[in-house]
């Protein structure tokens, strides 16, 4: 392991100053992903700026009825927060579907958003990878890709984003707040992650040196009845092969409002806006849910060995929306 410099930031502006836009420096929060990447040699930073002790560990109600979630709030605290559990249950479920209790105690909201793909070619430095070594190629295209992207990928990269939490945040219209040496800024979660295009190594729209300071959730009344369901290859402690964050409000047999996002299908959490448009105003029936899923998945471009994911996402969408509708009818 390369020797590195370690600094603990006193405050947010101090952290930004310590990082100093240095491409060889990284912010360290829970370390549940960065430290692994340092062990495997994917990340070899010369300097770590520890932001874990920054005063960004609060969850507060916003005047508009939303929530402000500090960037260093742990995944465990986020999932357990009473307002999150009651107003955004899909978010609690998503967080609890990820990792293990020990990891969730360490992992932070900001770090979770910026975790890297678990594509095995990305994490193996002896292999080509356009994300890790731009221009070196993507072996997953012709190799092992049964858990790779079916939506929004390109010929340069078919890796998927690993976060469960971010899928729920995408469905909830979360806004990411950050700070740079030039001041504060914000990005809707939908715009945080860049399209893959031919630059898979450029993952987010954050300016150089930016430190995520928090995530703001707007009030989303429909989210009070919401659900996150994750399918994985074992019952726990595995990344999704497909997941759905869904919220549904049906009134008089008609879908009044809906939120839908997919996980493990793309390089970013996939907000299923096409499906949402197909849902809202349509009869609250299994046929509607199937049509909405099909509309969203019409854009799917599966690889030779991950076509099952299209079936999985279709079935999962219908199942979760049907469950929410049945719950509402009780």
């Amino acid at each position: 392991m390369r020797e590195f410099d370690y600094r603990r930031a006193p405050d947010v502006s101090g952290a930004v100053a310590l990082l100093d836009d240095d491409p060889d420096a990284r912010y360290l929060a829970g370390g549940t992903n960065l430290v692994d990447l340092m062990k495997s040699g994917v990340e070899r930073p010369g300097r770590l700026v520890d932001v874990r002790e920054l005063p960004l560990d609060r969850i507060e109600s916003a005047p508009d009825g939303g929530l402000r979630i500090g960037a260093t709030v742990t995944n465990s605290d986020l999932a357990a927060h009473p307002d999150v559990r009651s107003r955004y249950p899909m978010l609690t479920q998503a967080v609890l579907a990820g990792a293990s209790g020990q990891l969730r105690n360490m992992a932070t909201v900001g770090g979770n958003l910026l975790q890297r793909t678990r594509c095995a070619y990305f994490t193996d430095t002896t292999k080509p990878c356009n994300k890790r070594a731009p221009g070196s190629g993507c072996p997953a295209l012709s190799g092992e890709h049964h858990n790779h992207a079916i939506l929004g990928a390109s010929e340069t990269c078919v890796a998927v984003h690993p976060s469960d939490m971010a899928v729920a945040l995408a469905a909830l219209d979360a806004v990411v707040h950050y700070e740079t040496a030039d001041g504060q800024g914000e990005l809707p979660l939908d715009q945080l992650y860049l399209p893959v295009a031919d630059t898979p190594h450029r993952e987010t729209a954050l300016p150089t040196g930016a430190l995520i300071t928090g995530v703001f959730l707007p009030p989303v009344p429909v989210a009070a009845r919401s659900r996150y369901r994750k399918v994985r290859e074992r019952a726990s402690y595995a990344f999704a092969i497909g997941s759905v964050a869904a919220a549904l409000d049906t009134r008089d047999g008609v879908v009044h409002d809906a939120r839908l996002a997919f996980g493990a299908v793309a390089s970013r959490p996939w907000r299923a806006r096409t499906a949402e448009r197909a849902l809202i105003g349509a009869p609250a029936t299994a046929e509607t849910y199937a049509a909405a899923a099909a509309a969203e998945l019409a854009a799917a471009r599966p690889l030779p060995h991950n076509g099952y994911k299209v079936t999985l996402m279709h079935n999962l969408t219908v199942a979760v929306l049907s469950e929410l509708a049945e719950e509402a009818a009780l």
Binding site: G143, R234, A235, S236, Y237, I241, G242, Y308, L312
Partner: protein, 706 residues
Amino acid sequence: MTTTAQEAAVRAVGTGHVRVEGRDKVTGAARYAGDIPFTELAYGWLVLSTVVRGRIRDIASGPVLEMPGVVAVLDHRNAPRLETDYVSLLGRPDPTCAVFQHDAVPHLGWPVALVVAQTPEQAREAAEALVVEYEPLPHDIEFTGDHPDSYPVDGHMPGVTDKGDQEAELAASAAVVDEEYTTPEEHHHPMEPHAATARWEDGRLEVVDSNQGATWVVGELANLFSLDPASIRVRSEHVGGGFGSKGVRAHQVAAVMAATVLQRPVRVALTRPQMFALAGHRSPTVQRVRLGADTEGRLRALDHRSVSRTSKVYEFVEASAGVARVMYDAAAHHTENRVVRRDVPSPTFMRGPGEAPGAFALESALDELAEKCGIDPIELRLRNEPDKGPVSGLPFATRNLRACFEEGARRFGWAQRDPRPGVRRDGRWLLGTGTAAASFPAGAAPSTAAITAEADGRFTVRIAATDIGTGARTALTLVAADALDVAPERVTVRIGDSEFGFAMIAGGSMGTRSWSMAVIAAARDLRERLVPGMAIPAEGITVRSDTTAQIAALANMERHSYGAQFAEAAVDPATGEVRVRRMLGIFAAGRIVNPLTARSQFTGGMTWGISMALHEEAVRDPAFGGPVGADLAGYHVATNADVPRIEADWVDDTDPDDPVGIKGIGEVAIVGAAAAIANAVWHATGVRHRSLPIRPSRVLTAGSDA
């Protein structure tokens, strides 16, 4: 001796005892091979090939030797020469352990150099910086069941057995099953990775190591380095799991080389990714099973053919068809174990070798035959119980499979089972139940033991046994206590040291049976030496045993442990998720020494079966030749959440003619577990899964070729 053992049976053996070293283990006081400090210890880090096949053109040691803390780089140009032309306990050595002898690279992850430094961090950094230049050569890792290069191999059993006219009996059968079953490449990763520390002291080589047999490792190192075995000592007091992977491997040999060259202690440990290349694995198998039965379900034809894969440097056969030679007879009976050699690392024995993948195929096929015949799967098996070894013709020592099924069926509620598939639902889950038979050989091998009657009234047993987490140390304490007719608290069992003399390895489910014979023999002789009231000298009175003659005199019989596996599976057809809801295993496995740890062995084996059925699979990238995601995040085993209520128990399996009555229990509980789950998945859904693991993608695409 039998008398002694039977007296003992009412004492310690047969009652549950916590592990004698349990407190040390849970408090961290127990030190493993990589934990023990040495003065002047240096750390070696293996550099593995990044090409699949080729030749080493150059290794740029110079710049690395300039890096902080680096003391040596060993490779094929400067490493000590090794002797590999010998045959030992398990046959010829796998040349993968004979590191740095030539410039050829036969598979990805082949050891090409060892970088030694003052700290492990420095060694790793330098090893990762070492530039190795290769001349790559074309490689081929493709493995198929109909590969033209496959050939039959005698491993620890004959490659082919054959009797009767297969085609005639199949043609005359009322019901025929003819299917192909596949199991993937699987890896055994003990919690404790492989680690060894070697040092020379006073003209002797000492190796502190994590292995499955200290004297076995001595023998291998003596052969490889052309040393007198008496000049080598191997210690392995605590071993955090083995499963067949912990014999002599690259890390011990590299550590001995470096300690020899540098004349200081050197430690080499494997990382998880390195273990995928260097710790051995279970080959994938493609098995074809043909069964023909009459209208009553009695087998007329049984044909079980298995093809496995081995490396270009070592011929190891995963003898999956062997299980059919024990389980079922038929007028026409054919079994065959073939291998295909590819540019992959060498496979090896992995818990339940042969039987585990073999029983998946055979016991799945039996279930299919039961379906075709309209006969209950248990009844079908009981109708086909042989009265002698189907191939050997030898009598069975004890074969209490029927009792296992009868007790298992009673406890599992089998009588209430509706045989129709796909008709039970619980919410989004389809439910089904399945069963399968299990067997594993109960062998014994010569061992020596010493017991000392100490002056303070205690007894010390010394035997080069290994406790790889099974509870062997505790089991031997109980066996010794009964054989000595004293309380277990008065007995100290010392193991894991080659100085104690030759003993069987912890492998093949033969350890406790073999070691117990030696301990009981020594105890018998010691008791004859001890006269009531006699004074014990300060150095104690020591008696040694050697069971070589006793084992050679054992009657030639079919000796096996048996079991009946039951599973209930839930399948969500919309998502492809499969969950095991409950499992029951009833075993006939001789005399159970320590019910507490035996139950752990059984439920642990059944848990392994869940992993095998649903999770485990190493996928090799054909372009790069190695497994993708070679770590425990990428290679899935069952988590706690995957493991339901598992019950394991046993029926009486007394063999009055056996000197110890103990059989092995380390492997039998894996055998058949995956088949029971796969059969339950069929019962739940009506869809047969003949390829493991039954992952969601397979459930979702069942019926198509994807």
